[in-house]
């Protein structure tokens, strides 16, 4: 139930030192794409030392490790053993990769669905043990399809829809792909709103300056909070599974949804 997931390269002390100031609900420390092969070991050392000394209450920390079939996978896991992290982000999502990770750790896993094959198997991926969310990785996905990204994002509409539906069906978070133009706030707002309307619960980001907009889009609005309060109050007063409010029928799914809104509002101090 987080709104924002911010990737921070694992080899940048200045960013790591400030990971809790960017207002992202979740930080994903990256060992994969943003860390070159000759810097993988220094990233592991930095993060091991840093997280051994500092802990955080207000932000969850995940680490994107290298994929299960890379030569870095086991070293990444070993470096993170005994550290107080919330879980792993696993690139190139596959059932095999998740199972391999589950053999080495019992921590939550967020796979990145970033290939046509992963999309076809997304339900199997979502069902695996310890999977708590799905991230859509549109850059690699479109690269594999050999298609270009566009502002309208029609080329990823189907993939987005499937991932959001699957995550919601299995009651796990649906995390949308990052919006890569870091200086385009209007574009980000539109892109995040589109993702929200497709059923995503949150969005990943690769730049801290995007977090405010993402948090704003994926947080319940004041109107939604007020409405949710009324629904929950009436449901408690009537003690019925279904009732009428302002001429509209309210039933259990709507009550549950309202409770989620209030839970989110409480979590984010709204």
């Amino acid at each position: 139930m987080s709104r924002s997931y911010l990737f921070i390269p694992g080899n940048t002390p200045s960013m790591i030192q400030n990971l809790d100031v960017f207002d992202s609900d979740v930080i994903i420390i990256d060992f994969e794409d943003s860390v070159t092969s000759y810097d993988k070991d220094s990233a592991r050392t930095l993060i091991k030392n840093f997280l051994s000394k500092y802990s955080y209450d207000e932000v969850e920390i995940f680490v994107r490790i290298n994929s299960y079939d890379s030569r870095y996978f086991h070293d990444d896991i070993n470096a993170l053993a005994n550290l107080d992290i919330s879980g792993y982000v696993l690139p190139k999502a596959s059932v095999k990769g998740i199972r391999m990770l589950n053999k080495l750790s019992n921590k939550p896993i967020i796979p990145i669905v970033e290939s046509p094959m992963a999309l076809l198997l997304v339900e199997d991926i979502a069902k695996e043990k310890n999977v708590v969310a799905l991230i859509f990785g549109a850059e690699d996905y479109t690269k594999e399809l050999g298609i270009k990204r566009t502002l309208e994002a029609t080329e990823i509409l189907y993939a987005r829809s499937i991932i959001a539906i699957t995550a919601n069906a299995y009651n796990i978070d649906a995390i949308d792909t990052p919006y890569t133009n870091k200086d385009d706030d209007k574009g980000l707002l539109l892109d995040a709103t589109n993702a929200l309307n497709l059923g995503f619960t949150s969005k990943a980001s690769i730049h801290p300056n995007q977090i405010d907009i993402i948090n704003q889009v994926f947080a319940p609005s004041l109107e939604e909070i007020t409405e949710a309060k009324r629904i929950v109050k009436k449901s408690e007063e009537t003690n019925k599974g279904a009732f009428s409010l302002d001429g509209k029928m309210i039933d259990l799914p709507i009550i549950e949804k309202a409770k989620k809104v209030l839970e989110k509002a409480k979590k984010y101090n709204l």
Binding site: Q17, N18, V21, F22, D23, Y54, D183, H207, P208, N209, D212, N269
Partner: protein
């Protein structure tokens, strides 16, 4: 005092000027810094003093920039005795840091400099005033001409109160200048030169809005703070410098103003394109401009009637009854260091090297209703908060809030602000606690400050010496 609309004597070469004036008995000389790193006049004039081997020079430039190389030559030759200025950066600053002067370095504020000149505390023999647009009557403005530099604010007191006033120009015209910044009735000579400077060199440091995430976070905290204090309201007045974070605060304040349909009464100080944009969008009534920080601000002085060039005295002289900043609600300022008593240093770095100076820092902090310091909590690997700053530029009693990316400290003297923020969601800490957060990352750096030999002093706008500068 001269006569209005009387032609001023035009001199074609500096040698000719000193045929008429005894150079060795006019050793207290002043310059303005409006051309900043694009200035050719300072080096041109001082080369003459160098050539004539004039000893015991007392220099009164409003600021010293890295390209003012002739000052360094004169210091090394032992020809300069004292320097009184508001800001010093570059090779001259480094040299003085390590070697001092035969006399002393006095660091004043912009308002304090104007006051000292007007009251005769700073006695200037000759003011050499670079002007890009002047007529034969000695009337001049700074925002016209091929080498324009914008407002001439810091040169105005010199142009009235120096014993001899020399306008130095490359653009002498024959038409009347309405509302001149410098009035010809005070001027003694016009010295013609090939070029007073290069307009492109005037742009001051960082004049772009920061995109650095830490800077963005500091600005966000600041705008929320201002909003929660109820300071962004109809008719409020505001000043921010040209630093990236200050400009980001200005942008965030602008967003709040648009959302709440608020119009400000004035912005003051150094003006940038962002302030001009807000004037032209009808978000602020007036810009009081004592210096232009970029070329867009200079162009605006030409076309916007409510963009008003003002003198340093009007801007910040505490004895000037029309002082603009006495009506200033909010000022956003930077800091190299701040201490537990909220004293701020923008004069030296933590190794005691001279890197700046007050400018209008202490002036605006003293007069504004709320003075906010914006700074990263840790700069590189050094915490911005210390138990005692290396050099006091602005007294802590005039500083109200410190805003960092990790939280905010309010000066305990401002009980009213603390009360207003009782229910805020902002992270407010005692300044010592904020320092402890930084020390958690850096530990407490060892104090390396040397206090053996005094080479200069910091004079506040009240004439009080608030700290000394020591040789490194």
């Amino acid at each position: 005092m001269g006569v209005k609309n009387q032609k001023i004597k035009v001199i074609n070469h500096i040698d000719e000027l000193f045929n008429q004036i005894d150079i060795s008995s006019n050793r207290n000389i002043s310059f303005h810094h409006h051309l900043r790193n694009g200035d050719y006049v300072i080096n041109y004039v001082l080369d003459k003093y160098k050539k004539e081997k004039v000893q015991g020079i007392n220099l009164f430039p409003s600021a010293i920039f890295p390209n003012y190389s002739s000052i360094l030559d004169l210091i090394k030759n032992g020809q300069i005795n004292n320097i009184t200025t508001n800001y010093i950066n570059g090779p001259v600053a480094e040299f003085i840091t390590h070697n001092g002067l035969p006399g002393k370095l006095k660091m004043q504020t912009h308002g304090g400099r104007a006051r000292a000149i007007i009251e005769g505390k700073s006695e200037i023999d000759i003011a050499f005033i670079a002007v890009p647009y002047v007529n034969h009557f000695g009337d001049a403005v700074g925002f016209l001409g091929p080498n324009k530099c914008g407002s001439l604010g810091y040169a105005i007191p010199d142009s009235i109160h120096a014993k001899i006033k020399v306008l130095v120009t490359d653009n002498l015209i024959n038409i009347e200048i309405p509302n001149p910044e410098i009035s010809g009735e005070n001027i003694d000579y016009i010295l013609l030169v090939d070029q007073i400077g290069d307009t492109q060199g005037i742009v001051s440091g960082t004049t772009e809005i920061t995109k650095n995430p830490i800077g963005v976070k500091i600005a966000k905290n600041t705008s929320i703070l201002l909003n929660e204090l109820g300071l962004i309201k109809e008719g409020f007045s505001f000043q921010s410098g040209a630093g990236g974070v200050s400009l980001r605060v200005t942008k965030d304040v602008k967003d709040i103003m648009i959302k709440k349909n608020i119009k400000a009464s004035f912005f003051s100080g150094g003006i940038t394109k962002y302030h001009v944009e807000m004037l032209e969008e009808g978000l602020v009534e007036k810009l009081y401009d004592v210096q232009c920080f970029d070329l867009e601000a200079i162009e605006s002085l030409k076309r916007n009637k409510m963009h008003l060039p003002i003198s340093a005295s009007r801007y910040a002289n505490p004895e000037n009854k029309d002082q603009v900043i006495k009506d200033l609600d909010i000022v956003i300022l930077g800091a190299t260091e701040i201490d537990y008593n909220f004293n701020v240093n923008v004069t030296t770095d933590s190794h005691q090297t001279l890197i700046g100076g007050s400018g209008g820092h202490s002036d605006t902090a003293s007069e504004s209703k709320v003075c906010i310091i914006v700074s990263p909590l840790i700069k590189g690997r050094i915490p911005v908060i210390k138990d005692r700053v290396t050099t006091i530029t602005t007294l802590g009693k005039n500083i109200d809030c410190l805003v960092t990316e990790r939280g905010i400290a309010i000066n305990p003297l401002r009980k009213d602000l603390i009360k207003k923020l009782k229910n805020t969601k902002l992270k407010i800490y005692p300044i010592q606690e904020l320092a402890s957060i930084a020390y958690g990352f850096t530990n407490i750096p060892k104090d390396i400050v040397k206090r053996d030999k005094i080479i200069g002093e910091v004079e506040d706008r009240t004439y009080e010496i608030i700290d000394y500068i020591y040789q490194v």
